[in-house]
Symmetry: C2
Subunit: 140 residues, 2 copies
DNA sequence: TTGCTTGCAAACTGTTTGCACGATC
DNA sequence: GATCGTGCAAACAGTTTGCAAGCAA
């Protein structure tokens, strides 16, 4: 996925970020993965390329990339995870494999069918995720 | 909600738990609330009744009550939260007010409309939550 | 009395902050 | 060269653990 990485890097630069090697490797982590990644995994990946990277650099950049809309943060039981933000044009949800943690798009949005809301409840957002075992992991 | 508290206490005893004052107050927290509660809030509530309760007692019991199916654990951005488990017979989801954190039942289950799954994906569970501002908080 | 529960203290994990040095533009 | 980014160390919050003493059954 060369193009995906380049696109990410360009986006970061266009947002005014300086392109450091740390940030380039972070971009590579997410351009290679369609799943949810732990900060710990990001740090592990980068420290193999840049021995001595610090945890706070990883955290700072994950937060930064989330703030500028490149990443998306999810709160799971095992800790916070990050994932490349899907295009804003394509609203959808995900099937999530609880083994390999890869995600698969789910085009259906349940809000289409939510008609009655509690008295004067103003809807702001929603979360819909389906968990299971994907085909690749199910054959183990 | 006298009955709700008594029912909770009975359930705990029937599961073989000893009824300590700490546990009774924890039961009261959840029989009074339909919302999601932080461990910190539970501890605060109890320490007003039992000065000096320890955090680990709160945590131990919240985990215990979750294990035996009395409570349910949710992972939110602000930390883990607990909530009385809704009856196993009544599967439903929730509207959640992001201000007061009260919950309102949402009877519709989106799984009814999920027909196509990824190749060989075995569905195990799902999460569906609608966030917003409830009527009481919206008038501020 | 027996064994489950608690409180204490300490450890631990994940995350954040201040500061001086180093790198990018 | 000015500014942004990094590494370090330390602080911090939430959570978990081992152990001795306390309490419910």
């Amino acid at each position: 996925m060369e193009n995906k990485l380049e696109l990410l890097v360009e986006t970061m630069v266009s947002k005014g970020l300086r392109m450091t090697s740390q940030r380039r490797w972070i971009a590579e982590v997410f351009s290679d993965s369609t799943g949810f990644v732990l900060p710990k995994q990001v740090h592990h990946y980068i420290s193999e390329r840049i021995p001595g990277v610090s945890y706070d650099t990883v955290y700072r950049n994950l937060r930064l990339l989330t703030d500028i809309g490149i990443l998306e943060q999810f709160d799971f039981a095992g800790g916070v995870r990050f994932k490349l933000r899907c295009g804003p044009d394509s609203h959808h949800h995900h099937f999530i494999c609880i083994k390999c943690e890869q995600t698969y798009p789910l085009d259906y949005c349940p809000m289409e069918n939510v008609e009655t809301t509690p008295e004067a409840f103003r809807i702001l957002s929603h979360k819909f995720e389906v968990y299971g075992i994907c085909g690749r992991c199910g054959t183990d």
